[in-house]
């Protein structure tokens, strides 16, 4: 790979990391804002009552439940971001494809929700274990989802499925796409670079509801590319 392509790839990796972090931290701040309001409401209800006033116990009892719900939500958000951050720790490692895809979808779901696009995940019945670069694969899947989001209208949908394919594995991202990209063109060249670096292969074909299926074919062994399926 040429130097400028490597440079573009690394810039793209950074942009991906930045986009995910920005979206996740925004969502985390929303959790903090809700917790802030509910704890403030608790204070208002308790401290605002005069000494002889009856306190609405039922009303007050609901507040800690809401706070707890937001804490769980925030915890899930942070766990996901933490796992994402650790995906850069090792460039070659064995990992579960199911867990990786659920994670990247969880991280980008907010972006799809903001556009009112449904992000649907249909996992296989069994675990699919692969060996390779988890950060790169997340980046490729994100790139496919992001391409679909660019062309999706409100009310549209993106479907992600995956399965074993022979000795390898296959990840399918189906959604709206521009006509040139649906024909296989990679308008900014980055997705192709990422796929090459990953040692994978991508093809596009028409799918139902005027959508396009982008299929990422993951190789069997490191000798075939950067990914090995176990």
């Amino acid at each position: 790979m040429r130097d400028n392509q490597q440079h573009n790839l690394r810039q793209s990796d950074l942009a991906f990391f930045g986009a995910i972090t920005a979206s996740v931290t925004h969502e985390f701040k929303n959790c903090l804002a809700v917790i802030n309001e509910y704890s403030g409401l608790l204070e208002d209800l308790l401290m605002g009552a005069a000494p002889d006033d009856c306190i609405d116990v039922d009303r007050i009892a609901k507040v800690p439940v809401s706070i707890s719900r937001q804490v769980s939500r925030a915890d899930q958000i942070v766990n996901r971001l933490n796992q994402f951050a650790h995906s850069v720790d090792q460039p070659m490692v064995q990992f579960e494809l199911n867990e990786l895809i659920e994670r990247i979808v969880g991280l980008v779901r907010r972006l799809a929700d903001m556009q009112r696009v449904d992000l649907e995940v249909n996992p296989p019945d069994d675990q699919v274990s692969v060996e390779g670069n988890p950060f790169l694969l997340q980046h490729v899947i994100y790139g496919c989802i992001e391409r679909c989001l660019r062309h999706s209208k409100q009310g549209g949908s993106i479907t992600i499925t995956w399965k074993r394919e022979g000795d390898g594995a296959e990840v399918n991202v189906t959604g709206a796409m521009g006509s040139s990209e649906a024909g296989g063109a990679d308008n900014d060249g980055l997705l192709s670079l990422l796929v090459t670096e990953l040692g994978a292969r991508v093809d596009c074909s028409p799918a139902e509801d005027d959508r396009t299926a982008t299929v990422i074919h993951l190789p069997r062994s490191p000798n075939e590319g950067s990914l090995h399926v176990g």
């Binding site: 925004h26 701040k29 903090l32 802030n36 309001e37 409401l41 719900r69």
Partner: protein
């Protein structure tokens, strides 16, 4: 004395609910909605003194809502709310005509003071 009437638009339902209740406890009447389009429908049929508006919402961005408020009820001041905290988004909001910009999580005293200032203007 007539109570200040606020329209609160934010896609976080629990935030809207808790904040509306806190404002009511401070004698500020608050109507809370979770979609920009719904907020605009309220604005078409009812009078409000101040609008509190989240910048990032799924159906319609806060900026787009603000533009439409500018045509529908230009006399109603808008206080922008966001989890962004970026200088750029605050500057853009103020340039678009927002009365003020507050970053989440907010301090209720600061919000109430800003609402009263906006309503008096």
């Amino acid at each position: 004395m007539k109570r200040i009437r606020v329209l609160l638009i934010d896609d976080e339902e629990e935030l809207v609910s808790a904040l509306a209740e806190r404002l009511m406890l401070r004698d500020i009447e608050a109507v809370g909605v979770t979609r920009g389009a719904e907020g605009l429908r309220w604005l078409e049929k009812e009078q409000f003194d101040v609008i509190i508006l989240d910048l990032k919402m799924p159906d319609m961005s806060g900026m787009e809502v603000m533009r439409r408020v500018g045509k529908l009820a230009p006399e109603v001041p808008v206080i922008l709310f966001t989890g962004h905290g970026s200088v750029k988004s605050s500057e853009e909001g103020l340039e678009q005509g927002a009365f003020a910009y507050l970053a989440k999580p907010i301090r209720i005293e600061e919000l109430v003071a800003t609402i009263k200032e906006a309503a008096a203007g």
